[in-house]
Symmetry: C2
Subunit: 422 residues, 2 copies
């Protein structure tokens, strides 16, 4: 694929030359203040795919994120399209009018060198680290529910004339190299022998073998895999796990939308929901004494409900206000009885999103334990026996969510299926 090859002009940013480069960009020097030679540069990328620099000046700071031409965790042997930086920016640009300060401010995008200069989020930390530390974030779940509702509703057929939405769909089909990663790593490889898979071994060897033989599970996962590819309901972030959120006690920021494409809304919902569940199951691995995280686990289960409720009520409110696009067109629903019928239709639509959230959440839980890319929630549990017990709990719930979907009609059904103690 031509767009995965490194352009001749591409070169990796480095801390030494970065200040001079930034000084040439309109507005960046003023934002940092002082002379470039006085700016402090640190490389802080801990994700899978990019270089990330924090640049601090006298007056302020910025964050510079550059796409690498290969998957960082795998090295140059796994090349990866640099165009993902373009799609990340296209996503931010598209949702920015709808989501306010829930995404960072973008100061500059360089399409040739594939880097973005954006607001430096400080003192925000990656949510996953906060969850591992057992920190409570009172606004988090509500913010993320609100965010998914706004970003998805406003890019869907409920808010956009289909011509505009189809332009978006066409644009983001160019993000195939990233979509291919999701297709393979989430919906296929964990259920077959694949070189990139790994799991806590030997403790989970039997479960891994069982998964590969679990026909009902594989059919259910494939149903969601097909949905992922054939239901472009809205523009998705595409990777909305707890590593794509930066938080303080009061603030929530959504970052890293490079997997963006038009897909089923339940995929974004399920990413966050599933990662809260992974965190819940990992908590015993982070206790210094037994039961220490019991209260924190209760807090996490409450966030499941808060998240869904925030999404549900914002979605309903947006649909009530706005019927100007091609879905359920306003001109058809002006009567009093129409409004009553719409209430039912909205409930049915949101119930279907809930079912999708459950299924996608489960797919994402399994891939993080059995597939290529794992999560620090479990990886940071040094004791393999303990880690395997935590992971097994998460796998059992995920399997149930996929193979007995009729048992999960609301968040309380999910909580009921989680064990009282591990």
């Amino acid at each position: 694929m031509s767009d995965t090859t490194q352009k001749p002009s591409y070169r990796m940013l480095d801390p030494v030359s970065l200040p001079e480069l930034l000084a040439t960009l309109a507005g960046i020097g003023d934002r940092l203040g002082g002379a470039p030679r006085d700016w402090n540069v640190r490389e802080v990328g801990d994700g899978n795919l990019n270089l990330v620099f924090i640049v601090e000046g006298k007056l302020g700071s910025v964050c510079v994120k550059q796409a690498l031409p290969y998957v960082r965790v795998a090295g140059p042997s796994w090349p990866m399209s640099l165009q993902r930086a373009f799609y990340e920016n296209a996503y931010y640009r598209t949702v920015a009018p709808f989501v306010g300060a829930l995404i960072p401010a973008i100061h500059h995008f360089d399409p040739d060198q594939h880097f973005t200069v954006m607001e430096c989020l400080s003192p925000h930390i990656i949510l996953r680290h906060g969850l591992i530390a057992g920190t409570r974030y009172p606004n988090l779940a509500g913010d993320v529910g609100e965010y998914v509702a706004r970003a998805c509703f406003c890019t869907s057929d409920f808010a956009q004339a289909f011509e505009s939405k189809m332009d978006g769909i066409a644009l983001f089909t160019g993000n195939k190299p990233l979509i291919r990663i999701s297709v393979d790593l989430i919906f296929a490889e964990p259920y077959r022998i694949a070189e990139r898979n790994r799991h806590t071994s030997p403790q989970l060897d039997q479960i891994a073998a069982d998964l590969r033989r679990d026909s009902a599970l594989k059919v259910a996962v494939s149903r969601f895999g097909l949905k992922f590819l054939s239901e472009p309901q809205a523009l998705l972030h595409g990777d909305l796990h707890s590593g794509s959120l930066m938080v303080t006690a009061a603030e929530t920021r959504i970052i890293d939308p490079e997997f963006a494409f038009y897909g089923p809304i339940g995929f974004d919902l399920g990413a966050f929901f599933g990662n809260l569940l992974l965190s819940w199951y990992s908590q015993p691995g982070h206790e210094s004494k037994f039961g220490e995280r019991a209260g924190y686990r209760t807090w996490i289960t409450q966030q499941l409900e808060t998240f869904w409720s925030a999404f549900d009520s914002r979605w309903m409110a947006l649909w009530t206000d706005s019927l100007a696009a091609d879905a359920y067109p306003a001109a058809l629903f002006s009567g009093a009885r129409d409004q009553a019928a719409l209430v039912e239709a909205r409930r049915a639509y949101v119930n279907a999103l809930f079912a999708d959230m459950i299924g996608f959440a489960a797919c994402k839980m399994i891939r993080r334990i059995m597939g290529f890319a794992h999560v620090l929630d479990f990886e940071s549990i040094a004791d393999a026996e303990l880690r395997a017990r935590c992971e097994t709990g998460a796998l059992n719930l995920a399997r149930l969510m996929l193979t007995a979907p009729q048992r999960f009609r609301c968040v309380a059904d999910v909580v009921d299926a989680m064990p009282g103690t591990l």
Copy 2:
């Protein structure tokens, strides 16, 4: 929209200059035989959007179809993208490897003058005329079922890597002006006061008013309208009614795919299914004596079943043979129990297509009686009272199909809901 404006170089083909133009195209002169001055040219277009010429030479004949820059039935006041000729050709090119002789052979496409030179179908006639005449076509329903299965399966995620399918989705998003016609005329205007609507009046005035107040119906139609825009399962013909089929006693040809785009398979299925139902309800209007068409009606009901069975069995056979793409990937389903689970998954998938077919068929039936573009099946019934009775029957069934979908699990359920006699 820039692509709806007439290019400077565009000019309408005319019978006088057409032979000289065709003589300049590779292979066309040889196919016709003799000198251009001896070729006989007739304009035969009776559709809504195009010029169509039959050109006959000493050795053979060709058909020339040119897009007009406006909607033919409405005149130049309703401009229409000439690019639809491009999408028609793109559709033919895409499905040609899968559907054999069920589409005409394409000899030449001129992207600047927006015309196609194709096989002249003779002695084929438009199916709708044959149905009005009461002619039986033994292979028709089986051919069309086979066609939809092959064209849709082979362009879906079951047969194409998603990268290839996404390229197709992106390409056909350019066909928006035609998709806009479907969105407005099928899913919106029949359910509100709209200038382009018409119906048999005054006989259907009350029913038209009732439809506009029928909240449950409008919600159901809107559900299918949203599905139309947000479920690109496969490349669709987009207008597969009985005016888009040319037939002889033995042969079936699918023509006029200018509404092509990636959408829900049930939309193509429903177009044919719904038009068979319209024909069934129109038959009393074509009797010279009461009951004369009773046997023909029975034949039509049989074709409903034949069509669906042909689709169903071909779809199942294709899915069984081919699992090499991203949907339900082969590598996950190699065991014996996997095969049993897949049988169930396939049944569930095809059942969902059946439900979609029922809903889309009903939407299409209603728009042909209450909306802008009507069908000759009813239009050719001179007696307005009789026509209105036929149309009312069709409307009643369509309403039931949309508002009581659970009653329609198989073709026999549809036939059961049709009256024994009008």
